[in-house]
């Protein structure tokens, strides 16, 4: 049985980096958009999650000092696999991986009604209107320059909805079943 599943990696998610936090200060998303959103999907119960032992991240005892903290989870009912290595903390990666898994399951089950899909459409609309605004602004700038007026271009503001997207590197892969990461026998 071959299933299509998505493998997501959550590096550069921005969620834990100082960059991600400073981004949030440029909040411009109107609150009404947030209200239309379905609630963030909760992670599935632990009984539906299988965690892999990653040989690479494999602890090697005192003799070796590895820094790999990757966590890989598989949702058994859907076969969706996610991997997270954004932070040095396995505890935090484990939590983040569960959140991403919840999002992937939501997408898998609810398609274009999934929270992330709705967020994506809102962002698209917003960036389209921002483009329009930008074009208008530059047109105005041109006119101002021609007219000799001074104008400053504001920094690009980012919606706080951006944090919803973990910018996962997505890859469609098949359920490899037997050749999932192996531990030393």
């Amino acid at each position: 049985m071959l299933r299509t599943l998505s493998q997501a990696a959550c590096f550069n998610s921005g969620r834990f980096s100082s960059k991600g936090v400073s981004r949030l200060s440029f909040t411009t998303a109107p609150k009404c958009w947030l209200k239309q959103l379905p609630p963030r999907p909760g992670p599935p119960p632990d009984s539906e999650i299988e965690e892999f032992y990653l040989k690479g991240s494999g602890p090697g005892g005192q003799k070796i000092n590895k820094t790999n903290s990757a966590v890989q989870l598989r949702h058994t009912p859907t076969g969706i696999v996610v991997k997270c290595q954004s932070t040095r903390s396995r505890d935090q990666n484990r939590k983040a991986a569960r959140e991403i898994l919840a999002q992937k399951i939501d997408e898998f089950r609810n398609g274009d009604q999934a929270r992330s899909a709705i967020v994506g459409r809102i962002k698209q609309k917003k960036s389209a209107s921002a483009d329009k605004k930008k074009r208008r602004k530059y047109k105005k700038l041109e006119e101002d320059r021609e007219s000799g007026a001074e104008a400053a271009v504001e920094g690009e503001a980012e919606s706080n909805l951006a944090q919803d997207q973990s910018e996962p590197v997505q890859e469609s892969t098949r359920d490899r079943g037997a050749d999932t990461p192996k531990a030393i026998p």
């Binding site: 602890p59 005892g61 903290s69 026998p185």
Partner: protein
């Protein structure tokens, strides 16, 4: 030009690959960004080099002015590439819910240690392995011998404290560097908000003692002393030979930068008892100490499969383990074993009481054998007022 030369096998591979992959394969070392290239000698693969570069950048962003940052990042990449442990460069290592300070002279906490500490806590909190916590009259008493940074007792303390459980935790080490750092780690994690300042009925402390000196260990086992619920230890367990030979068994970065005292049992500790090797010497001593302290649970980290079997077999003959449950735990004790991983083993016991039969020992989790767990059966625990029936 040499990087453009393609060996026959590779060129055959290239021909069969889609065009997109060609270019990425042809771009050899020359196209790897310089900072990543600096990290590669230590990180070995690009994925971990990218992760480390990101963590180094995040660290520099927080600690250096933007103008100086790029030069500092490059300098740190150079140090890391030469084998300086990332945790000594960044100054910390996450451990469970804590941020553990790391300094040269004290061993850096390992991932496996974190895994079994968390698993132990899960057993205590959710599976009553020291009995129902609300029935423990005094506090939960924990001793960690060979404590290093204090990572194990600090995580145990943080986790039990969060659940409003009365707890008394002690960490013991012979190294003044370790003791100082362990105390700093308590302060640091209180400041970070990972640990609340100890409330009434909760305490944690670090003590200087040499495991091999009766006079220094006696204070923990005075008659009339409280019940010890948990004793843990991650003692030095690498043999002199493996340490000094260039077998590649011990990572170069470990050998050059981490303290030998934490890793290799010293030469003058005497001969190991029958069945054990010289570098297993801490285990026979720790079992003798366990005899005195009588903890409900004893958890010992071990180095590899061979050592695990030697020590587990020794345990079956040691009076401390008589009528106690023995388990072997792998690197990740809470991850399902894969199809090739044995889930139990029969240890040949030379103990006459066992009637010459082997003793069946369960093996939990996935990975290499990493710890030996010895537990008093729950039904035989004296809970103070009454024996609990199961």
């Amino acid at each position: 030009m040499s990087h453009l030369m393609i060996r026959p096998a590779t060129s055959r591979l290239l021909r069969t690959l889609p065009l997109r992959r060609h270019s990425s394969l042809l771009r050899t070392n020359s196209s790897i960004p310089p900072n990543l290239a600096l990290l590669l000698p230590t990180c070995k693969d690009l994925e971990s080099a990218r992760n480390e570069l990101r963590w180094l950048r995040e660290h520099v962003e927080k600690t250096t002015s933007p103008a100086k940052a790029p030069a500092v990042v490059t300098e740190l990449c150079r140090q890391r590439g030469q084998g300086v442990p990332l945790q000594y460069i960044l100054g910390t290592q996450p451990f469970g819910s804590l941020e553990i300070l790391c300094r040269p002279n004290v061993l850096i906490p390992r991932a496996a240690t974190e895994s079994y500490t968390n698993h132990l806590l899960d057993l205590i909190i959710s599976h009553n392995v020291i009995g129902p916590l609300d029935e423990i009259k005094e506090s939960v008493n924990v001793i960690d011998v060979c404590t290093g940074t204090g990572c194990i007792p600090l995580q145990v303390f943080a986790s039990l404290q969060r659940r409003n459980i009365m707890v008394d935790v002690k960490g013991v080490d012979v190294s003044p560097h370790a003791l100082e750092l362990a105390k700093d780690n308590l302060d640091h994690n209180v400041k970070q908000g990972n640990i609340a300042s100890p409330r009434e009925g909760q305490s944690i402390g670090f003590h200087k003692a040499d495991v091999f000196r009766d006079d220094e260990m006696d204070i923990f086992s005075k008659p009339g002393q409280k019940t010890w619920h948990i004793m843990t230890s991650n003692p030095p367990y690498i043999s002199e030979e493996v340490w000094s030979e260039d077998t590649g068994d011990v990572e170069l970065s470990v050998r050059q930068h981490e303290p030998r005292l934490a890793l290799v049992p010293e030469r003058n500790l005497g001969d190991a008892p029958e069945g054990l090797e010289r570098h297993d010497i801490f285990y026979s001593r720790l079992l003798d100490i366990a005899m005195e302290l009588n903890p409900r649970i004893l958890l010992l980290e071990i180095g590899d499969d061979a050592q695990a079997l030697r020590v587990a077999e020794y345990c079956t003959r040691h009076p401390f383990c008589k009528s106690r449950i023995i388990e072997l735990w792998r690197d990740c004790p809470d991850i399902k074993p894969d199809a090739n991983e044995q889930t139990e083993i029969i240890l040949e016991s030379s103990d006459k009481d066992q009637g010459g039969f082997g003793r069946k020992v369960p093996i939990k989790g996935s990975g290499q054998l990493r710890a030996i767990y010895v537990q008093q059966p729950i039904e035989s625990m004296d809970m103070g007022d009454r024996k609990i029936a199961c």
